[in-house]
């Protein structure tokens, strides 16, 4: 398994290590609920060095990205981030990722950990196929370290060691600044549904930043948080996870990514997706809440009137809401909020109800 620069630190503070997409990552340090609550109430610090970063640079960077991404990135300002997906020719999702516009001709895309190599090959292949010779695609994952600090107190904590003023930084915007003595890119964004930041700095400096945040954040209640809490936080916030809700057999129109898919423009999968939309979708990803006892999990079957109609993609007991919730694919006719469905949990069917997303939304200050 691959290790991030923080691996030894995780072990030293009792991190329980699991294999996540080929990476040895901490699933928890103390327990998931504590780390989850710390992030919702105070702040959580996450090692995200496993995720991939790909730089796309040159006069044709925009053209290449506009071709591989489902999202229309025309009008994206320097410093702005856009969430998007890259699809294959059939419209199947290769990855979901964020696109940072760092300069007029320079972008950084941030990919999932297990999909980075695949994304890099795909983008390179598209560049060649389209004959875009004036753009360089570079995998900068190894030299790029990434930490997420998330939660209501994260701005106050991070500001202590950040040169630039974080207060005016808007959601889904990034700035170049210094964190401690190191050059860093800081964005107000994340994967938890809380206010928070993603911090990018050189891999070999990231340990010092981690140590300092743990040290100065402790008095504010900051805790290191593992992938377990990351998963419950994102699920409460109605956010999807590649490999659970998405893969190459699923299109963005069927999941919660219709809004990042622009069928007015031409991109790799646009023709297939237009056809699919015209024909009409047959299934859709929905949120549900358990009404009877039991916790739905990834892979459990969805039933109605004794007939199997779908499958759970993610499910858990949510620490903030104190209920069992999940995401599932169901036929369009069962996708309206309020619809009763049943989840097979071991040898019995437990009643659940389709609900709107997200399950949890923070109160804006």
């Amino acid at each position: 398994m691959k290790k991030t620069p923080l691996y030894d630190r995780h072990l030293a503070i009792g991190g329980k290590i699991i294999d996540f997409g080929g990476w040895a990552m901490p699933v928890q340090y103390t327990n998931v609920i504590e780390e989850h609550q710390a992030t919702r109430m105070k702040a959580g610090l996450f090692d995200i060095c496993h995720m991939g970063e790909i730089e796309v640079k040159g006069p044709q960077a925009f053209d290449l990205l506009q071709w591989v991404l489902s999202r229309n990135i025309e009008g994206q300002a320097v410093g702005q981030i856009k969430l998007g997906v890259i699809t294959d020719e059939q419209g199947g999702i290769i990855d979901d990722l964020t696109v940072y516009k760092l300069d007029h001709d320079r972008y950084m895309i941030v990919t999932n950990a297990g999909t980075k190599d695949k994304d890099f090959s795909w983008i390179t292949k598209q560049k060649e196929a389209k004959g875009f010779s004036d753009v360089q695609v570079t995998d900068i994952s190894d030299q790029t370290g990434k930490l997420d600090i998330q939660g209501p107190l994260s701005q106050r904590i991070l500001q202590n060691i950040t040169a630039g003023d974080l207060a005016p930084l808007r959601y889904y915007h990034a700035m170049n600044t210094r964190v401690m003595d190191f050059q860093a890119l800081v964005s107000r964004s994340g994967y938890t549904g809380e206010d928070g930041f993603e911090v990018y700095a050189e891999s070999r400096k990231i340990g010092e930043i981690w140590d300092t945040l743990i040290q100065i954040g402790a008095v504010s209640g900051l805790k290191p948080a593992g992938l377990g809490a990351r998963d419950t936080l994102r699920l409460e916030a109605g956010m999807m996870l590649y490999g659970n809700e998405m893969d190459e057999t699923i299109t963005p129109l069927e999941v919660v990514y219709g809004w990042v898919t622009n069928l007015e423009k031409d991109f790799v999968g646009s023709a297939a997706l237009r056809r699919l939309k015209e024909k009409g979708l047959t299934r859709k990803l929905v949120g549900f809440e358990m009404e009877e006892r039991g916790i739905a999990r990834h892979g459990y079957k969805v039933f109605t009137a004794g007939r199997e109609i779908g499958e759970v993609t993610s499910g858990t007991f949510t620490p903030t809401l104190q209920r069992a919730v999940g995401l599932a694919f169901v036929p369009i006719s069962y996708s309206e909020p309020g619809t009763e469905i049943f989840i097979q949990i071991r040898d019995h069917l437990a009643k659940a109800r389709v609900v709107g997303l997200p399950f949890y939304k923070r109160e804006k200050q």
Binding site: V27, Q28, T30, N31, V32, I33, E34, H36, G228, D231, T232, R293, G294, I295, R297, T316, F317, P319, A324, R346
Partner: protein, 132 residues
């Protein structure tokens, strides 16, 4: 650190404890070491009263936020009673695995089966070896 394993009961290699009530029944649950490994228990599924099980067959299920784990019957028998409190308070298993967090009372088919299980010292030794 786990609480000490009480000497008045027997232990399975799957981390269940069984206390012989001396009337042909046992009370069982999971060990403190097991709850520590599972951490935040958020759901316990208990068997139906009257259910018959064989020794080391699945009897109950415990779920933490991240995981689903089977709980096995320390002895063959019939379910007499279950700890209903756990349905609303699964955290009792974390707080008091050997006491308030008990799960099932079983009427044993063959009390001699308890001889297949470890005593407290044997179980403590097994945990120690697992850690290496």
């Amino acid at each position: 650190m786990s609480k000490p394993n009480p000497a008045d009961r027997k232990y399975t290699k799957e981390h269940e404890w069984a206390k012989n009530n001396g009337d042909g029944t046992i009370t069982m649950g999971i060990t403190d070491h097991a709850q520590e490994l599972l951490t935040d228990i958020v759901f316990v599924e208990l068997p139906a009263i009257g259910k018959k099980v064989k020794q080391m067959e699945q009897l109950a299920v415990v779920e933490s936020v991240k995981s689903v784990s089977d709980v096995y019957a320390p002895a063959s028998g019939e379910v007499l009673e279950v700890n209903k409190v756990l349905e609303d308070h699964p955290e009792l298993v974390n707080q008091d695995a050997f006491g308030e967090g008990w799960m099932v009372k079983l009427k044993m088919d063959n009390p001699a089966e308890l001889n297949n299980l470890m005593d407290a010292a044997g179980y403590a030794e097994m945990i120690k070896e697992e850690k290496h």
